[in-house]
């Protein structure tokens, strides 16, 4: 057996900042798993957005399943500009942080498009969803080599936000 699930990079914000970028991601793994606990400084609703390889053009599409304690919904959108957490973002001014997991499967192959499985949760958000599961298609066949994480509405990710990127290598 081969021990795997290795931490590749991690970032813990000691002060608010606009984005976190994990770059020069090795292609030596099979899957990537990105986990985060984050909050926006925006006092309104906000989301986390991830740009793959720095690309913010309309290459992202998604299908989602979401609930907020009183309603459940499913939808699909195309021509998106990032992988978005859909209002799961913690609550500014409180200790409420959203928690997230993104699975980037077979991220380094150069033959197929990239599919990402997302799960996000928080409980005190106002005006958004509390539980979200999404499948994103990133319409590129190139390997994923960088992930840039930022808020969608700004201005900054709050201090205390953390992100860790892991690599899983199949035998």
């Amino acid at each position: 057996m081969t021990t795997t699930y290795e931490k590749i990079q991690t970032a813990t914000l000691g002060s608010a900042q606009a984005n976190v970028t994990f770059s020069n991601i090795s292609g030596s793994y099979t899957d990537l798993v990105l986990v985060g606990s984050a909050k926006s400084l925006n006092t309104g609703t906000d989301s986390i957005g991830i740009a793959v390889n720095g690309n913010t053009s309309s290459i992202y599409s998604r299908t989602y399943l979401e609930g907020n304690g009183s309603a459940v919904t499913s939808g699909r959108q195309t021509a998106q500009i990032r992988i978005v957490s859909d209002y799961i973002m913690g609550t500014s001014g409180t200790a409420d942080f959203g928690v997230y997991t993104w699975n980037f499967m077979d991220y380094s192959n150069t033959t197929t498009k990239k599919t990402v499985l997302f799960r996000g949760n928080n409980t005190a958000v106002s005006g958004g969803w509390n539980t979200s599961s999404m499948v994103y298609l990133v319409n590129i066949t190139s390997a994923i080599t960088s992930l840039t994480i930022a808020t969608m509405n700004g201005p900054n990710l709050a201090s205390g936000s953390t992100f860790t990127l892991y690599g899983i290598k199949a035998a």
Partner: protein, 332 residues
Amino acid sequence: MSFARSIADLFSKETSGATDAEVTAAISTHNTSANGHVKRGNTASRPGSPVIGDLYYNTEIKDLEEYTEDGWLIVAKQVPRVPVIGTATLGGSNNVSVSFTPSQYGQPSSLYTVQSNPGSYTATGSSSPITVLGTNLTIGTSYTFRVKSSGTYGDSSYSSYSSSITPVSLSSYESIESVTVGSGGQAIVNFTNIPSTFSHLQIRAFTIGTTHAYFTIRANNDSSSNYAWQQLSADGASVTTDAGINSSTMFCGQGSGSSTAGAVTVVDLLDYKNVNKFKTFRTITGFDTNGAGGIWYRSGLWMNTNAINSLSVVSNNLFGQYSVIALYGIKG
């Protein structure tokens, strides 16, 4: 000033309290012959009991040698002195940081090389410490490390070895087996002889193919009606739930029906070797093809208390080329 004292001055010897005879005798013991010339001869004839700083003209290599802490070295073209090995410490990724102290004597060194034993894995750097990547080392194996320096005229000898250090397993998550589907596709992926050394299993799959719509899982090759499943699903417009009981199949992963945009699936199988419980599978799966898509949460039950030692991942038709299905074990 006597000839002997002038020779002594040449080598910076303190001679104020000695007679000329004593000075001559002392110098000739090490550096010079009685006539004041530096001792000479072949390698085999070097002085038998040299002290640090003694000079010797080696007629074999036709060059002046000095006796140093590292032995006889050519004065004008010395390699750097041997560094002093320090400690080897483990980093967070089983990288080993090897410290050392460069010699403060002799020729300067611009490069240091650390070497492991066993394995002879090397890493280089311009200063201490130098890191040997954990990817080169085997978990559970004891390693020692030594270091050498490199300069304009070559390499020093290696130092003595450090104390030993043993990389440890940093993760309880291990890869057991994986299959990447080749051209022509594949209907079933079998994981057999699953070890019982883990607490839980996880299947991670990226599946693709124009005829692949979903996959089921069979445990221990049981194809009788011993399975049940439930699901919560969303197709981009509505949310539904469904179930099946006493089924011969247990729906798990979804397919995309596409040759370019695949479906992804993560299946958790907890306590798989317990012989007192039915086995429950937890699955999240889905796809998006920029126009179609869905996401499914599934619970599956194999109504059998046997420990699971094999899993069959079965496509409704064919897993397409480039599909990747991998089995992992998680220790608890």
